[in-house]
């Protein structure tokens, strides 16, 4: 039998970078087409986020250069704030080191792995460093070649040059050389990805130069740069014991009470009094021997009858006093068990819905602009639902856009987004697909959805989007989310229906009018023969009559649609 020390000789600490190098699939690097899209996605997302945080209207240019068989150079350039020299290695070289990781915030990125993952992918497929040219608008531009030291999870700059910046250029340009990828104009490819990104980000101007030199421009259709999302305090319903325990260790507040009130949303001093009662009640219920009685007490607690539950135990005030003491402790003294009790009590208590100021929907107006600008439809509408909560405490919001006709080809198209990021894979299992298919489109005058020129876009926004897998391409079928999506689609579809029926009615009226008008010359000639009246005069009488009739009809229709 081998000695333990022998066995553990081979035991090595694996760095975060090393882990992801071996598990590239978790970052979206699977398949030749998708890998390329992921590289572009990471760079473009970084650019958009940086521009938004700096309040700059993004101008992003993507260039795909074919260097050889399954060998490309990806160039992404933006007009963002640029990266200060000392942060370059951080941004591109270190995994899990982004500015947003571990914050309760709606984000496009993938917990800070994003662009460094792309740098790593370039490095492991082509062996080349990533070239970064950036300037914050000062008198210098920096050109750096970045690699990742996989063992140490650290970025290292292979080569660095400084250039004068006479024109005051500001922005970032990165060039990655990647192999084992392929550029195809498919629904999973770069072109489609950028098109979808442009729709959901109408404030961005996006250009793409394809390998054959073709320039494609998705122009900006809105001047309004969205505000970056803000951090939100966690809602008591959404936290785990571990969250409370660890936050308590880190906090600078001096009592548990102040810690809870200060670092969670929807907890007030009054709620703390209530919390004390609930914890006390739960402690007392656990002392009850009769299982049935215990069950009943839990149920009553769930109904909010906490005072009555407490009163049913003798000497309950003593327990309440004990629990109250916890609240006055310094938070770092909070035990795991106490944290557990707090989280359990949270489950029974009622709280206001979490605040939603951290959610940043695209907005109805901007969705319409995006769809109109890129797809050139005949009709467009959008619905942004008010924020809702799933799993008791995670805020989310749904918005949909619906475009019809115009340059849209026949056939239903669903554009899926999570936090504005296009989802290109796993459409079948996505809650958005299920919701869109569950709608009875015939009710909204769309008789054959699969042949109608309809584009439906769905954006699910949340600080925590429940993806079905590590690929983050499909949203799980959470009942609350599906309901919201359905309501949003139906709302938009109703507007489409109004438009379509109005259009049909108008067409019908025009057709009707023409029906009458075409007979007028015949009628005029006959009546002229019968009565001796001038033919042209008769014609005028009839045409005036028809005109008057349809004018009256039109104003009637106008009133109806205003009322509706």
């Amino acid at each position: 039998m081998a000695e333990a020390s022998q066995l553990f000789k081979e035991f090595k600490i694996q760095s975060v970078s090393e882990f992801f190098r071996r598990n590239a699939a978790m970052l979206g690097y699977t398949g030749k087409i998708r890998s390329l899209t992921t590289v572009v996605h990471e760079a473009v997302t970084n650019s958009l986020d940086a521009c938004e945080e700096a309040g700059i209207a993004p101008y992003i240019r993507v260039e795909i250069e074919e260097l050889g068989r399954e060998h490309y150079k990806v160039i992404v350039e933006d007009n963002g704030p640029g990266i200060p020299e000392k942060y370059i290695t951080h941004v591109f070289g270190k995994m899990l080191a982004g500015t947003k990781a571990h914050r309760n915030i709606q984000s496009r990125g993938q917990q800070g792995i994003g662009i460094s993952g792309a740098v790593m992918f370039a490095q492991i497929t082509s062996g080349k460093a990533t070239r970064v040219i950036t300037s914050t608008g000062g008198d210098k531009t920096i050109e750096a070649w970045v690699k990742i030291d996989v063992d140490k999870n650290e970025g290292k700059i292979v080569k660095k040059e400084k250039h004068p910046n006479p024109k005051g250029w500001r922005g970032t340009r990165i060039e990655l050389e990647v192999k084992n990828v392929r550029y195809i104009r498919s629904k999973q490819g770069v072109y489609w990805y950028l098109k979808l990104t442009a729709i959901a980000n109408p404030h961005a101007h996006i250009e793409l130069i394809e390998p054959d030199g073709k320039l494609i421009v998705f122009p900006r259709s809105s001047e309004e740069v969205p505000k970056p999302p803000v951090e939100m305090k966690p809602h008591p319903r959404g936290v785990l014991t571990d969250d409370v325990y660890r936050m308590a260790k880190k906090t600078r507040r001096n009592t548990v009470k102040r810690f809870l009130v200060g670092e969670f949303s929807r907890i007030s001093d009054k709620k703390i009094d209530e919390l004390i009662e609930y914890i006390a009640a739960l402690r007392l219920i656990k002392t009850e021997g009769d299982k049935n009685v215990q069950e009943q007490l839990y149920e009553r607690l769930m109904k909010g009858e906490v005072k009555a539950v407490l009163r049913s135990f003798r000497g309950y005030t003593k327990v309440v006093k004990q629990v109250a003491k916890i609240m006055e402790k310094p938070p770092e003294k909070l035990t795991w068990h106490e944290a557990e009790e707090i989280v359990e009590a949270f489950k029974y208590m009622k709280f206001l819905a979490p605040p939603t100021h951290g959610l940043r929907p695209i907005g109805e107006e901007n969705i319409e602009k995006g769809l109109r600008g890129i797809l050139k439809p005949e009709f467009v509408t959008a619905v942004t639902r008010p924020p809702k909560v799933y799993s008791g405490g995670i805020p989310f919001q749904v918005e949909v856009g619906l475009a019809y006709g115009g340059e849209i080809p026949a056939g239903f198209e669903l554009l899926r987004y999570a936090n504005r990021v296009p989802l290109l894979f796993d459409a079948g299992s996505c809650v958005t697909t299920l919701a869109a298919r569950s709608i009875d489109w015939k009710r909204y005058k769309v008789d054959d959805l699969d042949r109608a020129p309809v584009v439906l876009m769905i954006n699910v926004i949340s600080v925590h989007v429940p993806y079905t897998g590590t690929g983050k391409q499909s949203i799980a079928n959470v009942e609350e989310i599906q309901n919201e999506i359905r309501l949003a689609i139906m709302d938009a579809a109703r507007k489409l229906q109004t438009y379509l029926s109005g259009k049909h009615r108008k067409l019908y009226q025009v057709k009707r009018k023409k029906t009458f008008e075409k007979y007028v010359p015949e009628i005029a000639r006959a009546l002229s023969i019968l009565t001796g009246e001038e033919e042209d005069a008769v014609k005028t009488y009839f045409l005036t009559f028809i005109e008057g009739h349809f004018k009256a009809k039109e104003s009637e229709l106008g009133e109806v649609s205003e009322n509706a």
Binding site: I523, L530, V538, F545
Partner: protein, 386 residues
């Protein structure tokens, strides 16, 4: 031996009334009303008496099928009506020209004359004669004016033979001096005048073969009868002619058809009018017409049993019946004008015996039998059905 005439000419009850200016003024009146409506911003329309079974009834007093007073209103500003509204005016204008110019056109000519592509469209004013014919019927009912008075004629059918003189425009002729074929009745008989009539009654004969037989046997001359051959169902011209001869000239009308449901129906149409043309009954029907044969009694009386034919279809007492001829007979038994003892007896007998008998069956006796014995015997003794 002087014949004791049961059937003889009576006093005239109507006067020849055709007046083209009446038609013209009616057309103009309608045109003016439409024009006034449109000028004052009203949706112009025509009120057209409805056609069909729902709008006819049997006038017991006058013993004719008449049209009810149900109207259908045809608007200009109605997608479903506009085309017909236009067509109506087109035909009206056409009729005005025909009548004022004193010309006649057939229904088919009227169709072709008014058919053309509407400028700026791929649509024709009329696509089919089936569109123009009903419009003409509508006009008849709307204006209360015969198609013939509007100078629109149908194909001619039927002929007459007998000692009467007809003035047709500039021509005057005796219909017994035109050869054995007699004189073909035109589509329009409105303008005909009868300066001389030397017959006691008119015998309306269903088949041309029988009419020819009677002429060959010199029946018209011997019996002082006018032969009118309908050649099947009587055309409007023939029915109008019968009506005029009866009411304007006082000629009794006697109808001679096959003894079968179709023959009786021909008789019924001459006498009471038809559902289709109920609005014209006052001008086409002759309720005083009487029926000479063939009757079911004739079979027995003249021993014609061996020349009868079986009725077609299934009798009412058999499974699946009644169908075919039986069904028609039972329907006719329900007609108000067949609600009398004699006719009910005849029709019941037909069903019971399950036979029909043709006029020509009389030839079984001899070629001369019908002219020398059958008809003179029955007519002169007044042995006629109502």
């Amino acid at each position: 031996m002087p014949k004791s005439k049961v059937v003889r000419r009576e006093k005239p009850r109507e006067r020849f009334s055709y007046d083209p200016t009446k038609v013209l003024s009616k057309l103009e009146e309608y045109g003016r009303r439409i024009l006034e409506d449109i000028k004052s911003g009203k949706n112009p329309y025509f009120d057209i008496p409805m056609r069909g079974l729902n709008n006819v009834y049997f006038d017991e007093k006058r013993r004719v099928i008449r049209m009810g007073d149900k109207l259908s209103r045809r608007y200009f500003l109605n997608v479903a009506h506009a085309r017909k509204f236009m067509q109506t005016l087109l035909i009206m204008a056409y009729v005005k020209r025909l009548v004022s110019e004193g010309k006649h056109a057939s229904l088919r000519e009227a169709y072709y004359a008014n058919k053309h592509t509407i400028p700026g469209t791929k649509e024709n004013t009329f696509e089919d004669q089936r569109e123009s014919d009903p419009i003409i019927e509508d006009l008849e009912r709307m204006l209360g004016v015969l198609r013939e008075e509007m100078h629109l004629t149908a194909d001619r059918r039927g002929y007459i033979y007998g000692d009467i003189v007809i003035r047709d425009g500039e021509d005057e002729f005796n219909t017994s001096k035109l050869g054995m074929g007699g004189w073909a009745v035109p589509g329009t008989v409105e303008h005909l005048q009868f300066p001389e009539i030397n017959v006691d009654y008119a015998l309306v004969v269903e088949t041309a073969a029988m009419a020819d037989r009677l002429i060959e046997e010199k029946f018209p001359k011997k019996e002082k009868a006018l032969i009118i051959a309908t050649q099947g169902q009587a055309s409007r011209g023939v029915r109008r002619l019968i009506h005029r001869l009866h009411y304007e000239e006082g000629l009794p009308i006697i109808v001679f058809t096959d003894g079968d449901p179709y023959g009786w129906y021909i008789y019924s149409t001459i006498k009471q009018g038809s559902i289709n043309l109920a609005y014209l009954s006052d001008k086409l029907a002759t309720p005083e017409a009487r029926f000479v044969g063939m009757t079911m009694d004739d079979i027995e009386r003249y021993g014609l049993k061996n020349v009868t034919e079986k009725l077609k279809g299934i009798p009412p007492n058999k499974k699946g019946g009644p169908t075919g001829d039986y069904k028609r007979i039972l329907e006719e038994m329900e007609y108000p004008w067949f609600q009398n003892k004699e006719w009910q007896r005849q029709l019941k007998m037909a069903v019971k015996m399950g036979v029909r008998i043709e006029q020509q069956a009389l030839a079984n006796k001899s070629l001369e039998f019908v002219a020398k014995r059958y008809l003179p015997e029955k007519i002169n003794s007044g042995d006629l059905l109502p």
